[in-house]
Subunit: 233 residues, 2 copies
DNA sequence: ATACAAAATCTGGTTAACCAATTACAGCTA
DNA sequence: TAGCTGTAATTGGTTAACCAGATTTTGTAT
């Protein structure tokens, strides 16, 4: 198990090394947007690593929109100049694992906004989905069961109703990590679920009645405990 | 070229099919958190697809924190129950490509916050990095050159100074798409760069002087044109 | 029957050979 | 010489064989 972690960080280190070598190469050759990178085989030979490693590194840079691979043709520099390329690669290399405080802070930011937007834009279908999630949550809590999942599904339903696909995606990305940390730090073992029913209902009503400011306010109150907890960690 | 696009969407469809089949399987077998999925080979045989396809689908679900692969052991359901699993997979399947409006909306949300946080938390080193980015931007603009890259690097420097790694990551994710769309819709071909210098300087000063509310306000003014543009698309 | 050891099997990950499409270029034609 | 064509090399992607470690099964001795 310990070995597994070791090899994993080792793999990450190799990837970071390759990424910085790709950056150096782009700088050395003064590659502009649209220019072609050397082939994966050449890079793997030049860097003395396997082609798989090169591919993974390229895919990561592709995820961040810096490169673009085209089958049977080559890998190309995206529509970003050398300056932005250098800056962004440096940022990517220094990216650290998100801490819990950072996750909660971001979640609150996103959810205050999605609640407001949902009140403005929710369709009737959105409302139905939110109602279903709300009922499922309420039932679980009243039965004294654990309802962390239903809790978050209600929040995801709001994100969906916000009509903002980017925020929806970001909520999906942070949700599992939030759940993990909740369980790790036992955030929800504090009888918050009961009061949660009323708070969720208030948020739902505000969105249903299309009152954006109220929805945001109710969401803020819902998170007040989390705020507290976050600052005391 | 058209074929390329076709095969790409086709690949995505296959992946979505596999993901939903994995969901069905988790439901059918009532797999709980920590339970093991069938091996990749069995899944590829059962679903009548290649193992590569199965691996890609699993990796996607791993990215969203729903599964966890352990070498030489198996793929396991993460610490998320069936309910959340079902809801999140449904959301992931329905995720659409982010539209420009959604991107801009999210960017503004993030940047108002990172500006405020940067004013509260920036270190002297952060300040130095921001100053460098600011000077690079100013010089380019004064020389009449295109400075979109330097513009965004300044904003990324702020995100970094915010001390929130999640928001920093999200900024990195949306920045290239913002750039692409800026060029696509010619957002910046409007002589905004000149006024941008003053606005950037104001933001920098507010962060330097550790005035969070002012930093947020100045950032808001900086984005007012973008707001306008976003609503008129 | 039980405890333990050894071997066979099964796992995700890795590697290298293979593929189809693209590209570059040599050579032919007009 | 200009333009075309066919062939060979190059490309990222795919596939199947392979690897090392974990797991299960099997066999043996107590």
């Amino acid at each position: 198990m310990k070995l597994d972690i070791l090899t994993k960080t080792e793999t990450l280190d190799i990837q970071k090394t390759i990424i910085s070598k790709i950056r150096d190469l782009i700088n050395a050759k003064n590659l502009e947007p649209g220019d072609k990178l050397p082939s994966e085989r050449m890079l793997s030979e030049k860097f003395e690593v396997t082609r798989s490693n090169v591919r993974e590194a390229i895919q990561k840079l592709e995820f961040y929109g810096l490169l673009k691979s085209i089958p049977q043709s080559g890998t190309f520099v995206a529509n970003i100049g050398v300056t932005a390329m250098n800056g962004m690669i440096e940022d990517i290399l220094r990216l650290e694992e998100p801490d819990f405080k950072s996750l909660v802070e971001t979640r609150i930011l996103l959810e205050l906004k999605t609640a407001r937007l949902a009140a403005l834009r929710r369709t009737d279908d959105d409302l139905l989905k939110m109602k279903e999630a709300l009922d499922a949550y309420t039932e679980k809590v009243l039965n004294g069961e654990d309802a962390v999942q239903e809790d978050l599904l209600f929040h995801l339903a709001i994100a969906k109703a916000s009509g903002n696909s980017t925020m929806n995606t970001f909520m999906l990305i942070i949700t599992p990590e939030i759940i993990t940390n909740f369980e790790k730090y036992h955030v929800c073992d504090k009888g918050l679920a009961q009061s949660g029913i009323i708070e969720h209902q208030s948020i739902f009503d505000a969105i249903k009645d299309q009152k954006p400011q109220l929805a945001k306010q109710k969401m803020k109150e819902h998170f007040s405990v989390l705020y507290q907890y976050c600052y005391n960690i």
